[in-house]
Amino acid sequence: MSTVATPSQHPAKSIESDPTLSFSEQSRAAGIGAETINDFLNRQPRSVLIRLYEKPASCLAIFRLVPMLARQLIMQMLFLDGPLPVEDVLSWMSKEGKREYEDCVERLTKLSILAIRGQGIKQTLILNGVFTEGMRRALTGGGDHRSFGVPCDTEDKNAVGVGFLDEYARTKWETILHYMVGSEGSVVPREPVLYLLRRSDLMKKTNETSGGRTSSLGITSRGFQFLLEDVNTQLWHLLLQYLDMAEERNMDLVEVLGFLFMLGSLELGRDYSTEDLPETQLHMLEDFRDYGLIYQRKASSRRFYPTRLATTLTSNASPLLTTTTTTSSSGGTEQEEERGYVILETNYRLYAYTSSPLRVAVLNLFVSLKARFPNLVIGSITRESVKSALSNGISAEQIITYLTHHAHPQMQRNDPLLPVTVSDQIRLWEREKNRVLQESGSLFTEFSSQADYQQVLTYSQQLRVLRWNDDQRRMIFVTEQGNEPVRDFIRRRVVQS
C-alpha cells in the first residue's frame, strides 16, 4: 500500500528497515511513519541496549514495542530459571504461529533481549540477564532504580488539573501544526522546533518572503503528508528526528531514550521532581516543553507535569489524541469531535463537524470548501481539489486513510466505511496523474546475433537493471545505473570474441 519509499535522506536506515520487520502498528499506509522507533532501536549497538535495560521503565516500554507473540514469549520465559529448549517452544506453537515465531526471535535477538544457544535440535533460547532483571523488577515493583519518575514530596501551590494539561498539550501541538499549514495569525514556534521541522524535511526555506511574516519556511510535500497522520505518528516522527539529532549533539542516547520511556510510564495529572534528573534529561525537558509533552509553570520550576501526549507515548493506541479527549471529561463537543467528524456522501459532498481551524486547514488540502458555519464546514471532493493535493505530494491512499480515520460515528454503520464511488474515484484520479511513467537509461539495439542479444539480456536481468526488451527486434532498455556495467559487459565480450 505504501506509496512513498523510505526517506531518501537516510540511506543507512532504509537498508535496516527490512519489510518483514517493519512491523508497524503505528505506521500508516502513508510513508511518514516509514521509520519507526523499532527500526531505530534495531540499529542501536548492543552496549546501548543493555544499558537501557538497566531501567525497568525502559524494559517495559520496549517490551510493548515488540510483536504480541514476542511479548508472550518473553513473559513465558521471564520466570523460568534455565534456558528454554527451542523444541518445547515449537511444540507449543500452532502452524501459523511457527511462521511468526521466526520473526519474533529475529527481532528479539536484534534487540539483544534473546539469544539462541547451541545447535540443531538442542538449541535453547535464553533471555538476556539484564533485561530479565529489569522486566522482573517492573512487574514485581520495588528496588531503587527510580525509573518510573520521582514524584514531588511537596504540595504544589499552583497545581494544575488533567483538563488544563490536555488543553495545554493540544494548544502547544496545534501551534506547530498551524504554523506548518500557515494559518492566519499562527504563532511561530521556538527556534529548536523550527530546526527540527527543517531537519526532518517537513518544511524548507523558501526564497520569497510571504506577506509580512518574518519566517521564510514553507511546507514541503512530506510536510503535507505529515499533516494527514494521526498525532501519535506525527509525534514519533519528530521524536525520531530528535533522537537522530541527539546522536549528533553528543547527548547520551541511553539517557535520551530512557527519559522518553520514563515519560511513557508516568501518571497524568501528577507532578514530578526534576531534581534527580541528569543534565541531558534537563535539557530534554526544556525541548519537550515546546512540543507540549511536558508542562512546567516556569522554566526554573523544580517540578514538571507530563501531559497526555507524553503518558501515551509508548502505547500503540492508534489515534492518540482520541484517547486524549475521550477519557478526559473536559469539553463535551471536543469529545464528540474526536470520535470522528467527517461525513462523506456518495455525491462527493463532505460535511465536517468541526470548529478547529486546524482541521479545516487540513481538509482544505484536498477538499474544496464551500461554506463554513460555526461548527460545520461543507465542501466537496472534486477532481481539482484532489489534483492539487496530489501535486503537493499527498497520495490518494493518504486521503482515503485520513477520511477513514476521521469518519463520523454515523458513518461507522456503513460497510465499507467510505462510499466506494468516492474512494475509487480518488484512486482513479491519482492513477490518471500517473498515466505516463518515465525512467531514464539507455537503449541497446542492433545486436549482431541472437546469442549476443541473449547474453546481454541475461546479464542485465541478473543485475536487475532491465526495464524493457523486445526479442523480435533485439532491443534492450536498461536503467541508468545499469548503463555502465552493461556497456562494460558488451565491451568485454567484444574483446573476447
Binding site: A5, F63, M68, Q72, Y101, L139, G141, S147, S315, Q438
Partner: protein, 359 residues
C-alpha cells in the same frame, strides 16, 4: 511526478483501485489483530477450601502464608496482563462464601468510589520504583481481599449459618458478564442500534473488544449452582466471551470444565502450587488475538454426561422430569425439584424394563 523506482510497488496499488472493498477488509483484519483484551479475573477465596487444602500443615499461619504466595503470583500475572498492551482492560472479582465482590476494574464507566479501599491507594504518594498502573491494581486487589477475609471471619463468628452458604462464584460470573455487556455497549457507537432494532448483531460482530474471564478455582462444584452456572455459560457463549479456568487445587469441577469447553476457553488443573505463576504466564496470559498461534492446554475429553440431582451420580441413562427437566438416576414417584407427581403407569413400565434387563 513519482520517481520511477516506485513503479513496481505501484502496480498492486493500481490493481486495487477498483476493489476498495477488498482493501478495507484487509485493513480491518489488521486492526482486529491488535484489538484490546479485557480480562476478568475471578479469584476463589473461599476460606474453607483454602484451609482444608493446607490442613496438612495444620498451622493457620502456614495456610495464610500460602495464600500470600499465591496472591503474589496472581499480582505478577495481573501486572503482566497490563504490561502486554497499554489498552488492556482488567477487572478483578473475589468470590467467597455467599458473596462476590468487585475489587478493581478499568471499565471507564464504573464508579471507583468504594472499591476495595482503592481510593486510599490513589491518594497515597506514588513510588518512583513502581509503575503506577501496577500499583493501583496491586493495592486494590490486596486490600480488597484482606478486607473480605476480615469480613468473612467476622461473619463467621457471628453466625455459623454462613458456613452453609455456597461460593459466590456464579454471582461473580454474572456480575462480570453484566459489566462486559455494558462495556461492549459503550464500545459501540451509542444508542442508534436500539432504535433501528435489528442492528445489534452486526454491530457486535464489528466490535474490536475481545474479552475473557479467568476463574482461579479452589472449591468443588455445588450442585445447587448448576442451573445459574449453566445460564451464565450460555450467556457468555452468546456474547462470545471465553471462560478460562485454572483449578488451583482440589478435585476437578465438572461445571467449570463445561464452561471452558463450551466457550472455547482452556481448563487446566494445577498439580503443584509452585507452578502457578508459570502456568498463568504461559497458558492464561495470551490474549485471544494470539491464541490462534498457540497450542494451549486443552481437555481431550469433557464429561458431558449429566450428574443426577438426587445422588450426584454420573448417569448414562437418566430419568427426566418433563416439567422442570430435573434429572434422576432412578425412577421416583415425585420430582424433587418441582414436586410434580408422575403417573403410576410410567413408573411401573420403567420398573418392568429394569427387571427385564436384569434377566
Amino acid at each position: 511526478m513519482p520517481e520511477p523506482s516506485k513503479a513496481p510497488a505501484k502496480s498492486t496499488d493500481v490493481a486495487n483501485a477498483g476493489f476498495s472493498h477488498l482493501a478495507t477488509k484487509a485493513s480491518s483484519g489488521q486492526a482486529s489483530k491488535n484489538s484490546t483484551d479485557f480480562l476478568v479475573l475471578i479469584i476463589d477465596v473461599n476460606p474453607l477450601s483454602w484451609a482444608s487444602n493446607f490442613s496438612l500443615s495444620s498451622q493457620a499461619s502456614i495456610a495464610s502464608r500460602e495464600l500470600e504466595s499465591v496472591l503474589d503470583a496472581i499480582l505478577i500475572f495481573l501486572n503482566a496482563h497490563i504490561a502486554m498492551q497499554h489498552e488492556n482492560g482488567l477487572a478483578v472479582y473475589a468470590a467467597s462464601l455467599g458473596l462476590a465482590k468487585l475489587l478493581f476494574t478499568t471499565a471507564p464507566f464504573a464508579s471507583k468510589g468504594d472499591l476495595g479501599g482503592s481510593s486510599e491507594a490513589i491518594k497515597s504518594k506514588p513510588d518512583a520504583n513502581t509503575y503506577q498502573h501496577f500499583r493501583h491494581v496491586d493495592n486494590a486487589v490486596l486490600q480488597g481481599i484482606r478486607k473480605m477475609a476480615r469480613e468473612v471471619s467476622e461473619k463467621d463468628q457471628t453466625d455459623t449459618a454462613s458456613n452453609q452458604a455456597t461460593l459466590g462464584i456464579v454471582s461473580a460470573m454474572s456480575q462480570a458478564l453484566c459489566q462486559l455487556n455494558r462495556l461492549t455497549m459503550t464500545d459501540q457507537t451509542g444508542s442508534e442500534q436500539s432504535l433501528s432494532g435489528k442492528t445489534p448483531g452486526t454491530l457486535a460482530a464489528k466490535s474490536s473488544m475481545s474479552s475473557r474471564i479467568l476463574i482461579l478455582s479452589a472449591t468443588p462444584d455445588a450442585s445447587t449452582q448448576y442451573i445459574p452456572m449453566m445460564n451464565c455459560i450460555f450467556g457468555a457463549q452468546k456474547k462470545g466471551i471465553l471462560i478460562d479456568v485454572c483449578k488451583m487445587f482440589g478435585d476437578d469441577t465438572v461445571f467449570l470444565q463445561q464452561a471452558s469447553h463450551l466457550t472455547g476457553g482452556s481448563y487446566f488443573r494445577l498439580d503443584e502450587q509452585l507452578g502457578l505463576l508459570q502456568t498463568l504466564m504461559s497458558a492464561y496470559l495470551p490474549s485471544r488475538s494470539i491464541r490462534e498461534l498457540l497450542n494451549l492446554p486443552n481437555q481431550d475429553e469433557v464429561d458431558f454426561r449429566a450428574a443426577c440431582f438426587c445422588h450426584r451420580k454420573i448417569v448414562d441413562i437418566g430419568y427426566v422430569c418433563s416439567v422442570c427437566l430435573s434429572l434422576f438416576c432412578e425412577p421416583r414417584p415425585q420430582c424433587l425439584t418441582c414436586k410434580s407427581k408422575y403417573p403410576q403407569s410410567t413408573l411401573e413400565r420403567f420398573a418392568q424394563e429394569n427387571q427385564n434387563r436384569i434377566k
